[in-house]
């Protein structure tokens, strides 16, 4: 394997690794504000950003596999997080033409809308598994924290993408 192929492999695996890392950060005891502030849902933002800007980067089987891994390491109902991520991806795919070329604030708003919709789906699924309606506010709180942190995740995403693009340009023959 040449160095070029290795670089290409790393670049291709980066979105999946980023999403997996996002899941692991959710499991690690970060405990923001002595445990009173929930950890932002990094994988949700990562799935959204790749669905908007690079649809090939995170294929559905990869999102499904990481979602199932998320469910298994959480110990909850299997398929819940996988369905949430895939529903978000599907929502963004259906609106991809509208989202192309929009300014970042509009994309942020789109994330808020899409995340709220899949949040409702998540809430309904968890309630179904619990056998009764669960309180909505813990979900709203964590989703709100994720939306608040989204600009930082997006900034890191664009920075990494620009670095990758520069690297490709530099190495182009």
């Amino acid at each position: 394997m040449t160095m070029h192929q290795l670089r290409q492999g790393v670049r291709a695996a980066a979105p999946a690794v980023a999403m997996l890392l996002g899941v692991l950060i959710l499991v690690v005891p970060v405990r923001l504000g002595q445990g009173f502030i929930p950890t932002p849902l990094f994988p949700l933002a990562i799935v959204f950003l790749y669905a908007v800007y690079d649809q090939e980067a995170l294929p559905a089987p990869v999102v499904f596999a990481i979602g199932i891994f998320h469910d298994l390491i959480y110990g909850g109902g299997v398929g819940v997080w996988a369905a949430t991520y895939l529903a978000l991806q599907y929502l963004v795919f259906t609106q991809s033409e509208y989202l192309q070329g929009r300014v970042r604030h509009v994309i942020w708003l789109a994330f808020a809308v899409a995340a709220t919709m899949v949040g409702l789906l998540f809430w309904a699924t968890e309630s179904l598994l619990a056998g009764g309606w669960l309180p909505f506010w813990p979900l709203a709180f964590q989703w709100g924290v994720t939306m608040a942190v989204y600009p930082f995740i997006a900034t890191a995403f664009f920075w990494l993408r620009s670095r990758a693009a520069m690297d490709v340009e530099r190495r182009a023959p």
Partner: protein
């Protein structure tokens, strides 16, 4: 209309069709698995998969969590530096109070020992303990669970109670070889049989996920409702958890809804203790030491 080699058909470009189809297909698979979970949440195939994932990712969690733990420790150290005076005052007061309690406990222990000898009381076998570190937690909005650094290889069994210095935290639901998962008493799936000491009444402590756990009573109408401050311990009903582990106290009673404030620190526990308890089958066994030894004493230690 052909645009740069792509054909638009019904608002969807041709190359988008397989991609969307793939998402829909896997979305359907996910919902199928959710339905399967609904009817077999603890199905052996899922449970085995959970144990395997825990075992494989236990070292990964330790590595990923190392920087987070380091930052938390540094932040804690800085906070301690600013609170050292207040903490010192609090600890001195607490120490004075504990000394008084110690004298009372020694007296009571002697009395108890005397009565046990007189009555020839047969005590159940003593519980054993496994100390473990918290290496992961469930960061979701509803499921409240922790991942521990000790598993079946260290003597942890599914169903065992888990305590911290304050009281009951939860019980083990998945025991992998080197790691285990515990369901906290605040999780909506958690139901713990408890005993209200003031009323001498049994009840179920039900997790709510969105706040403090509440009490569910077996009787439809209570002769006397519990009052705030009433102490709750595990009742031992069901034979899974040993009797007498401190759980919490009644925080409020509002139109029949009894909210409980747990003694255990379920928001940021670091070191916990798994209580392995054998429900007594043969009461002719010799008496052993009682429950409640503090963390670090007489227990196996997990890495």
């Amino acid at each position: 209309m052909t645009v740069l080699g792509e054909i638009k058909r019904g608002g969807m470009k041709r190359h988008e069709q397989p991609r969307r189809f793939g998402v829909v297909f896997f979305l359907a698979c996910s919902f199928f698995m959710v339905l399967f979970s609904l009817y077999g949440a603890q199905a052996s195939v899922f449970e085995k998969a959970r144990e395997t994932v825990l075992d494989i990712f236990e070292p990964v969690l330790a590595i990923v969590g190392a920087p987070v733990r380091w930052v938390n420790e540094q932040v804690g150290d800085v906070q301690d530096y600013f609170r050292v005076h207040a903490q010192n005052k609090y600890l001195l007061e607490e120490n004075a109070e504990l000394l008084a309690w110690r004298d009372e406990a020694i007296t009571l222990r002697r009395q108890l020992s005397y009565y046990e000898q007189v009555l020839e009381t047969k005590l159940p076998e003593a519980a054993t303990y496994v100390d473990a570190k918290v290496i992961g937690e469930n960061g979701g909005p509803y499921d409240h669970a922790l991942i521990l650094s000790a598993g079946a290889g260290d003597g942890v069994q599914a169903g065992s109670a888990v305590v911290d210095n304050g009281g009951l935290l939860g019980h083990v639901v998945t025991a992998g070889r080197g790691a285990s998962r515990i369901l906290l008493i605040t999780d909506y799936n958690s139901r713990v049989p408890v005993f209200i000491e003031d009323l001498e009444l049994q009840a179920l402590l039900a997790g709510q996920s969105g706040g403090s756990p509440v009490l569910e009573f077996f009787a439809e109408k209570l002769e006397q409702p519990p009052t705030p401050g009433a102490r709750l311990v595990t009742s031992g009903a069901g034979g899974l958890l040993p009797r007498g582990i401190p759980v919490g106290e009644v925080a409020s009673v509002d139109s029949g809804r009894v909210t409980v404030k747990p003694y255990a620190n379920h928001r940021s526990p670091d070191l916990v203790r798994v209580v392995n308890f054998e429900f007594p089958q043969d009461l002719s066994a010799p008496p052993g030491p009682e429950l409640g030894a503090s963390i670090g004493e007489a227990g196996e230690s997990a890495p």
